[in-house]
Symmetry: C2
Subunit: 316 residues, 2 copies
Amino acid sequence: MRITLLAGGVGGARFVRGLRAAAPDAAITVIGNTGDDITLFGLHVSPDLDTVMYTLGGGISEEQGWGRAEESFTVQSELAAYGAGPDWFRLGDRDFATHIARTAMRTAGLPLSAVTRQLCERWQPGVTLLPMTDDDVQTHVEIADTDGTRVVHFQEWWVRMHAKAPARRFIAVAAEAAKPAPGVLEAIADADVVLLPPSNPVVSVGIILSIPGIADAVRDKVVVGVSPVIGGAPVRGMADACLTAIGVPTTAAGVAAHYGAGLLNGWLVDTADAAAADAPELAGIAVRSRPLYMTDVPAAAAIAAAAVDLALELSR
Amino acid sequence: MRITLLAGGVGGARFVRGLRAAAPDAAITVIGNTGDDITLFGLHVSPDLDTVMYTLGGGISEEQGWGRAEESFTVQSELAAYGAGPDWFRLGDRDFATHIARTAMRTAGLPLSAVTRQLCERWQPGVTLLPMTDDDVQTHVEIADTDGTRVVHFQEWWVRMHAKAPARRFIAVAAEAAKPAPGVLEAIADADVVLLPPSNPVVSVGIILSIPGIADAVRDKVVVGVSPVIGGAPVRGMADACLTAIGVPTTAAGVAAHYGAGLLNGWLVDTADAAAADAPELAGIAVRSRPLYMTDVPAAAAIAAAAVDLALELSR
């Protein structure tokens, strides 16, 4: 079985780890969001790709959900001593090595997809990890606060401001001219099942879908998504701030309606949101409810198995 | 008093530290060798500039003479796990931060001289540290061994091969088209005294002198050098391998004769080499002997003071 996912960071990574356990024989391709990518200290940082890679490769900090286990912070404190910022994006020494290696390969002319493949040689994630695009597409946020209306990089809003300044819209800068990375459209077209893990529907999955060609390819497939919202709140992160900005209610039904029946065939919600099955705006989407908290790998595996089962049911 | 020096790494740095102690009121400018610079992991490493900066700023590993004190090596071992080399040039985590900061500033468009000034803001070396040039000049070595005759980067020969493969010649690649960095010619022209510390006469001082304009500017001044050779052997490093390559005997007199009376006015040798004062090939160079081992800062200060005294005597 071939399974392709569009994934963001922590939630996507943990879901894929569960899926890998639930479907050990499946050929899994993860199309990762690179809109979160940012240049820090001159180095190319790919937070979402790295979270997937570290999580599946056994190098993740389980407590944080992102970054490396057993980290030290010598390099960044030395950079601070040079007055080199920012200090609001914390990078550990082990993590720095990834960004140094990535940047060196990119400077040498390799596209991000080839760099990602090379980095995965070490981590052996057991899936094919592809960036959504090799082009430079970064998510920016238009915010309005007491300093007025302005546009900042997504990470500045998300990490430095903790998404506190109200967002007015999200801009995938240069997305309209970007091409899917090699293998992305093929991985979608060849998939038996396309899954949307419980990643941020706006700034993770939404950004991936903004790359020309990807949404159209996904619409041709049986697609099952897993709600990142349980009981009216995001399971993790600050997705509510993103949903509110684009006028989508922070509910399991609201997210599914945002994806729409044209894209989404099946939708897993938590038992707390079982009523979503009767929501009129979800007509045409098969809704199933079950516990959705990914408390550990077996729990994530059971959720992933349920998503695959629903997709297979809808494929018949 | 204005004192300008042409300096390499460890020997130059320790001499300047002594000079700073001996002449606390002097305006000292150090013109550093950048022929040793190398790009490692995509980062711009300036070994000689950093050795001077760390030594004068109190961050040096006193045991090694180069690199940072209290180092850890997480980043490089992580890079090795990615298969990223080389492994023969050891870079610590604290040191990495310097190279990351330097590379980020250079990528942002700052010339090396401005970058060096910025890095020195942190270290406050108490001297003006200038790279010999802002242009990309790197020292390569033509070697001949069982693998045949070929050209390698100086660091590969020096660090990886421990200078064991016989060198046939040294090439300061692109030196003929390089310009002295801003301030270099002025620092020489305005100097009351120009000193050559006990740095490698071939691959440190020799490379600096190969930048068009520098040797001519130095020739116009009273110049006193300190022998890097004591009793027929280099005090530190493998200068003998360099001297042999260019047909210069590894003796205190041989090095002075190599610089020549056209460049050098005074020459400090160790008491072990006092006979150099009578060497016919040093006609026109005032030779003085005294203990030259820089065993600690006071010893280095006494040597530096003797060099300044000789220069002032020759200026009268």
